[in-house]
């Protein structure tokens, strides 16, 4: 099947590779310069490959509230929240951001999971008034990141960020182009999604680059994700994991009442029965980690590597992995399963992170 391209394919350019069924730039300039800009200034990433669904009908928010972990039934126009669709055994179907856009409800899914989300909602729609359409390719979604991103938006989009509610939306204009700005942090780092029409996207991208924003590809974005301990679908999220293991406790409302999987999640939390936790890892110089490789302690496998950051930090490769609860502590050193060598040190604990915390 032909790879999909975003409306910015020609304009953004870069070193293309396949990811999530899309042809996307791994780098646009160099990985080190893109990463450096992301940690010191303001960067933009074409995140159009993440799923975007438009839901309409009187029962959208009510149904989502009955099917997912966070309270979303009272979201008013401009308000949003992250929430997790979970199975009846409390496992992750997907983490989605729900935003009330006024004339529709926007669901931002993980890359490539829009059909999974549509099918899940469809399965549980019986009498409800609800229609869901896939709009992933009808608009462009940019992600603005970096320590300068908040100030850049205030100066160039004409919006006061105090008016932008957490995970909410504000209409704005950047270089006279109409956009919708959505609060969309990356872990604890500030971040914003900018929605723009396909037609206006190339001009907006060019203008933003001219205004000093550094474009970054998927490698720099993945590095930032791994550093921020943000779980991704397929590697850290899916039906093998529950939200508490994935550090998504901030997207769970324990007082909202029933939703699919609520009984299991409440029990795991009350009796502290979570078996493993998502942690950030720093690999020793001698190690050659690969995703899926086991992490050992006293000759036993106690965890697994799930993702690797594409760029080493201070000479060390960083990654994410799941480690048994008893050993998921900052500073714990674990050996690499054969044929890996060396060790991995746990540098952080994602349990305190997550949208909403």
């Amino acid at each position: 099947m032909a790879l999909q391209r975003t409306a910015l394919h020609e304009t953004a350019g870069g070193n293309m590779q396949e990811r999530f069924g899309w042809e996307l730039p791994a780098t646009i300039t160099t990985l080190s310069s893109e990463y450096s800009a992301a940690t010191t200034g303001t960067v933009v990433h074409d995140l159009s490959y993440a799923g975007r669904l438009h839901a309409t009908g009187a029962d959208v928010l009510d149904l989502l509230n009955r099917l997912s972990t966070n309270k979303v039934d009272e979201l008013e126009s401009g308000q949003g929240a992250p929430t997790i669709l979970t199975s009846d055994s409390g496992r992750i179907i997907d983490l989605i951001q729900v935003v009330n856009m006024g004339d529709h409800i926007l669901l931002i899914t993980s890359p490539g999971t829009q059909q999974t989300t549509i099918d899940w909602l469809d399965k549980y729609t019986i009498m409800e008034d609800l229609e869901v359409d896939d709009h992933t390719t009808t608009t462009v979604m940019l992600k603005l990141l970096g320590p300068g991103s908040s100030q850049w938006l205030e100066q160039n989009a004409g919006i006061g960020l105090t008016d932008l509610l957490p995970y909410g939306m504000l209409p704005a204009q950047i270089a006279k182009i109409s956009v919708q700005v959505i609060d969309k942090p990356l872990g604890r780092k500030p971040g914003f999604a900018i929605l723009v029409s396909n037609a206006d996207a190339p001009a907006l991208w060019t203008d933003m680059v001219e205004m000093g924003v550094t474009p970054i590809g998927t490698d720099a974005y993945e590095t930032l994700r791994v550093e921020s301990a943000v779980p991704a679908y397929g590697t850290e999220m899916g039906e093998s994991y529950n939200p508490l293991e994935a550090g998504l406790i901030g997207s769970i409302d324990f007082a909202k009442g029933c939703y699919i999987g609520q009984e299991v999640i409440a029990r795991l939390d009350t009796y502290q029965k979570v078996q493993k936790h998502l942690v950030t890892l720093r690999f020793s110089e001698a190690s050659a980690p690969t995703p899926g490789l086991g992490l050992m302690s006293d000759g036993r496998v106690v965890g697994r590597v799930t993702s690797l950051g594409p760029i080493p930090k201070n000479g060390y490769v960083n990654g994410l992995g799941y480690v048994r609860k008893a050993l998921a502590l900052e500073g714990t050193r674990l050996e690499m399963e054969s044929p890996g060598e060396g060790s991995a040190e746990i540098t952080g604990f994602s349990q305190l992170f997550g949208p909403g915390v």
Partner: protein, 118 residues
């Protein structure tokens, strides 16, 4: 579509005590003529599907209707396939659960009994 067993069409039945309670709530809501209860299924609850009860005397064209103990039990076409053969009972007393669904289609039921999966 009607689901039958030994030539008899199955529907949702209601116990005498549940019928009395429905009538009690109907009178409280000011309905005393053609008292009915709509039994429906919605997505949600711990196990995936959840029961929904409402007092009404409005029938839909697609409803399956069974009248028992003076109460009309109305089930819409879409909910019917999940509810066929279900008996609506009432659990009384201090620790009673109120209306209880005995649903032969439910493979799993959550702890409080209001949610199920098929």
């Amino acid at each position: 579509m009607a689901i039958t067993q030994d030539g008899v069409e199955l529907g949702v039945t209601i116990s005498e005590l549940a019928a009395e309670k429905i009538k009690y709530f109907a009178i409280k809501e000011g309905l005393d003529d053609g008292v009915g209860v709509r039994v429906a299924v919605k997505g949600g609850g711990c196990s995936g599907l959840t029961y929904d009860l409402s007092i009404t005397n409005e029938e839909l064209d697609s409803d399956k209707i069974v009248e028992q103990h003076g109460v009309k039990v109305m089930v819409d076409k879409k909910s019917y396939i999940y509810l066929v053969g279900t008996e609506l009972e009432f659990s009384d007393g201090l620790n009673g659960k109120g209306f209880v669904f005995v649903n032969p289609n439910a493979k799993k039921t959550c702890g409080c009994g209001t949610s199920f999966s098929v």
